[in-house]
């Protein structure tokens, strides 16, 4: 490290100062300058993130609104899209493939729709996470904010999207004989835990996606495999009857299946606690905490490198 030299030799008309001969690092230390763009400590990072909470919320709402702003029906698509989705799955799995083994029709339809919506929530959070940094490099290279604001904002957008889907879900439930009751209140903690889990996952994939944008191409296949393995359109224990028990166990303990089952349990009359694996709430909370804390720390570790494309 050397004292600043001016290429070409035209020095600024600086009088000899006591700073002469100091290295750049020493000079910076003397005047209390900090390395630009350095990663803050974890506590400071959380504090900065908290300071940006209005931006996180506004950004997610803006993204949500911008989605359908050119459509003639406008924001009606927020509800129409999940409804059409549910119809397609019903057509294929309910009518053509008859995957409703082990259920009455009154249970199967809400079972299927709940599964699709809850899984879509996780799925789209992961996909949005992969592109959270790599798809917003312009923003990252122009403005200062804790980068975790982006993946968090995107999962918040998905949560709001899911709330619209819940309207459809309520209508479907009531239509098939599951009327509002006290257990519907359980929806709130289930959604909260799943949101934590999704946000953690989104942060993990945001970091991986910023380094390897190819993940955006690969993830749809991984996620689809995950969906079929999680019992979105069939009951895992019924489908795997006769197979070794541990396969069903593993599939049932996976976070997507856990959150789906809890939501179905809360919502559907004929879907009782006998369908849930033991300690289901502890597992749901465990997955949420593991993903959220792990994902946050993992994301923060690379904070200063996100501008590099």
């Amino acid at each position: 490290m050397s004292e600043t030299t001016h290429d070409g030799g035209v020095a600024v008309s600086a009088p000899p100062s006591p700073d002469e001969g100091l290295s750049a690092a020493d000079l910076a230390a003397k005047y209390g300058l900090a390395v630009s763009g350095a990663r803050p400590g974890l506590v400071e990072y959380v504090r900065q993130l908290r300071g940006r909470r209005h931006f996180i919320l506004a950004f997610s709402q803006a993204k949500l609104t911008a989605q359908y702003s050119q459509a003639k029906l406008g924001q009606l698509w927020q509800v129409a899209t999940p409804l059409l989705n549910a119809l397609v799955y019903f057509l294929i799995f309910g009518l053509i493939l008859e995957a409703d083994r082990g259920f009455t029709r009154e249970v199967y339809i809400p079972f299927l729709v709940t599964g699709v919506f809850v899984f879509t929530f996780t799925q789209s959070s992961v996909m949005a996470g992969v592109r959270a940094i790599s798809g917003n490099l312009g923003l990252v290279r122009a403005l200062h904010f804790p980068r975790a604001a982006l993946p968090i904002s995107f999962s918040l957008q998905q949560l709001q999207q899911l709330l619209f889907s819940m309207i459809v879900l309520f209508v479907v439930s009531v239509g098939f004989g599951s009327y509002p009751q006290l257990s519907w209140l359980l929806i709130v903690p289930v959604l909260a835990l799943q949101f934590l889990f999704n946000t953690g996952l989104a942060m993990i994939f945001a970091r991986m996606g910023s380094k390897t944008p190819d993940l955006a191409q690969l993830m749809p296949f991984v996620l689809r495999t995950w969906m079929y393995a999680s019992g979105v359109m069939f009951s895992i224990p019924v489908m795997l009857e006769g197979k070794p028990a541990w396969i069903a166990d593993v599939l049932q303990w996976n976070p997507a299946a856990i959150y789906m089952d809890l939501m179905r349990f809360a919502l559907i009359d004929g879907y009782g606690a006998e369908n849930l694996p033991p300690h289901v709430w502890a597992v749901a909370a465990g997955w949420a905490l593991l993903a959220a804390v792990g994902g946050f720390v993992y994301f923060w570790k690379a904070e200063e490198r996100y501008g590099r494309g």
């Binding site: 030299t5 763009g37 931006f55």
Partner: protein, 259 residues
């Protein structure tokens, strides 16, 4: 602490042997087939398939409080990259940048969304720059008036994609210029729009300059550099070619560009 030292100038930005390298995926010359790409991925180690662009090569300088520094050089010489590195938005490949507080780039384009109304973009842009909701509410009327968007009817409640390019640029500048900065960096071509708006935005930049501790200005307009800056850094091919008082450097630069 710095105030105790009299007779010295207080540094606000120190760049020390700064190198910035961009990595571009999939732009490697030569075989571009899928199999070639696959073999590059499989042969790990030395980053294959990635082309490096060395945009800033070993730049060192010290900026002091109260200085207005112009950055000149031909297109692609690394001016904007250097600004972003000073702002801490681009990680350095080698070397360091030390700054006093958080330097900020003037500009919010990236945070705005064309599908939203001008109104919502003002709020979104303000929040993205780190303003509080109260700040934005207090300044909202000023921003809209400054942009002059509503001179031709109630355009602020229409989506930004319906604006003419000049109108959109005016709104973007108005949002960006609504916040005060400590170390302020202004990239070229900010004063867009018609003549009337250009004058207004130049005045606003002067105002911001007065409030800011140190100002960096990137511009291809030698006149505006001469008007605003007392020191100029001349970058060419990512290297600092000359650093000195505005007149001397500009004279050399004009000789170089053949003006």
């Amino acid at each position: 602490m710095a105030e105790q030292i009299t007779d010295t100038r207080i540094p606000t930005v120190i760049a020390d042997e700064l190198h910035i390298v961009y990595r571009v995926n999939g732009a490697k010359t030569g075989k571009g087939s899928a199999t070639a790409a696959l073999s590059r991925i499989l042969k790990r180690g030395e980053e294959r398939g990635v082309r490096k662009v060395h945009a800033v090569r070993g730049v060192s300088f010290i900026a002091y409080r109260g200085e207005a520094i112009g950055l000149i050089g031909s297109n692609g010489s690394g001016k904007s990259t250097l600004l972003r590195a000073i702002a801490g938005l681009l990680p350095a490949e080698q070397g360091h940048v030390y700054t006093d507080g958080q330097p900020s780039l003037l500009g919010v384009n990236a945070a705005l969304m064309n599908d939203l109304t001008g109104e919502r973009n003002v709020i979104l842009g303000g929040l993205a720059m780190g303003m509080t909701r109260e700040d934005i509410k207090a300044r909202y009327q000023d921003i809209v008036e400054f942009s002059g968007i509503n001179e031709k009817g109630d355009f602020i409640t229409l989506p930004m994609r319906t604006y003419s390019s000049g109108m959109a640029a005016r709104l973007r500048f108005s949002i960006a210029a609504a916040k005060d900065h400590d170390v302020l960096m202004i990239d070229e071509a900010l004063a867009t729009g018609d003549r009337k708006f250009q004058k207004r935005s130049e005045a606003r930049i002067r105002e911001l300059r007065k409030e800011a501790g140190t100002v960096f200005l990137v511009s291809h307009n030698n006149k505006s550099i001469r008007d605003t800056c007392d020191r100029v850094l001349w970058l060419e091919r990512g290297e600092l070619r000359l650093d000195g008082p505005t007149d001397e450097v500009l004279k050399e630069y004009e000789k170089f560009t053949g003006k």
